[in-house]
Amino acid sequence: MSGIEAITMPKWGLAMLEGTVTGWDVAEGDEVSAGQEIMEIETSKIANVYESPVSGVINRIVATEGETLPVGALLAVVAGAGTESSAVDAYIADFQENFVPPEPDGDDGPAAQTIEVPGFTIRRLAMGPGTGTPIVLIHGFGADLESWAFNQADLAAERPVHAIDLPGHGGSGKDVGDGSVSALSAAVVAYMRHEGLPDAHLVGHSLGGAVAVEVARGEPDLVSALTLVAPAGFGPDIAGDFIDGFISQSRARRLRGVLEMLVSDPGLVTTDMVEGVLRFKRLDGALDALKAVAAANFEGNAQRNDLRDHLSGLSQPVRVVWGSEDRVLSASHADGMEGARITLLEGAGHIVHMERAAEVNRTILG
């Protein structure tokens, strides 16, 4: 059976049990290389492109468009040139016979944990090997560690990657102090010290970008590099309608319109994504925490933080990724970021790390 490899349904994030094949970009007989975009898959969270994990010739496409399959299910078979079709048939038959779909309760891979660090209760998800420069992922306002579902496993191939929930968010404690970037960054520092993560590469999205800059400024020994994804704190304005609507809308149909501001293609916002935000907001203390964080950092359409001076004072390398169609924080804010290496992704919105995960992952590692 040498030379025959399976392409299977990926697992993007803790909650993903199945995905729907929405389109193939390659056909049987096409040669593909690892990292090439070969198909689109829609999950309950969001739709995304899938890059081939292997190189070779697509010998057989098993999953048809529109089909919904469990994580790990066979999508296609890659084989070397000249492989007998009977051998491929046998491989597929053998795979299907032995395939066991994941159980909703099953122990399948790393799970998020809630831990106590000095001063904070933090939910985190750690992945990857024990060695290598660690990456710490810091989500934005109202989000949680699952917003890195399309990034974390890829990034963790060769290094430890920790995603955490900021105070007030996800499964972390709901006490946000005064809600400021400084208060939030204290939790990140406490977590990194507790976990022994020096010289880490901090990746922060939106408000999490501002938090990452604050950590790097205050505790330079903890940070060896920064990647800021559509960060807050680098321009005068923000879409206040997004912040207000995120807090105030309690009906799914209303909240959906608010969440659509996050993406360039509104079709990417799924019912489950909306439901997930609603469920978070209903937790005791969550809404008060969001209000405190919003009040401390934003006022109407204005941002209270201006971190541009902090950035020029940093010695660590800084990369910036921004979607050109960001409707929450304008990509024009990148203009003033002295010394940073800036990647503008055309056509992407505010949650560019979810919309264009593969490109953002390459930028983070590049």
Partner: protein
Amino acid sequence: MPMKSYREAINEALVQEMERDERVILMGEDISGGTGGNGDQDAWGGPLGVTKGLRPKFGPDRVLDTHLAEISFVGAAAGAAATGLRPVVELMFVDFMGVCFDQIFNQAAKFRYMFGGKAVTPMVVRMMYGAGFRAASQHSQCLYPMFTHIPGLKVALPSNAYEAKGLLTQAIRDDDPVMFFEHKMLYDETAEVPDEPYAIPFGEANVTREGDDVTVVAFGRMVNIAGQAADSLAKAGITCTVVDPRTTSPLDTETILETVEETGRLVVVDEAHPRCSMASDIAGLVAENAFGALKAPIRLVTAPHAPVPFSPALEDAYIPSVGKIEDAVRDAMGHGSREAAE
């Protein structure tokens, strides 16, 4: 996210609210079981084990096994609520409401109004309802339309374990009497339920599916049956918006009317009898306020106007089913668009 049963979710809401607020107490027949006897203590935990473990945890002052007389312990709960406690009283089967209805609709429901808004009655009445349990006509009724009729009562119908915990938490924190309907057939159904406390606001419908062709409004257990019908119909190219109002009082009329204006067709699924039901109520609401949006007659899927049968075969035929809902949706679609009819 941990998976929990409807039963566990309700138990967890009770535990967390009792821990949060010492004014929360529980009352009911055999909600612990064995109290006062020489045998096992906490022997039962309610007829289906929902309140098991609470009396050992919170003690006899907060978990009261009552005598077998709803008229007095439901009345006592109303009085306790009016004087500062937050009782959660269990009526076992909603079918027993007849013997304590005065305490609910003439007393608990009226205090706020009769005392000039100066009195509140933060009590919850938990009740099992619904058919499918082979429990015959005196233990299988729905009856939530009767409570919905009465101003001053709030009425909640959780459709799954997540909804059950959040709606019960809200019910306990609410300052008005809340009639909380637990469907017997749902107790072993599981869903993702957060460990943390959370409350689902009353009067905000949940739209469980979004579609273009037909709005299906369903209540309690029927939300799940309607969802199955919608999934099946989607494969045939008919897409439904499924609305779970969550509470019949207050009722989220806005979401119902808004979705009917989008789809132009309405099917209401109600396990209660058809006359003076939620089905007829929603049909009236839409006919009065969104008539111009309707492309087809409204269709109702309900139980018949007959007691729940004891025969298992007849009981199964009595309950609204996936097939009956699909037929109603197809019927609504069959009338075509108004444009086509002109």
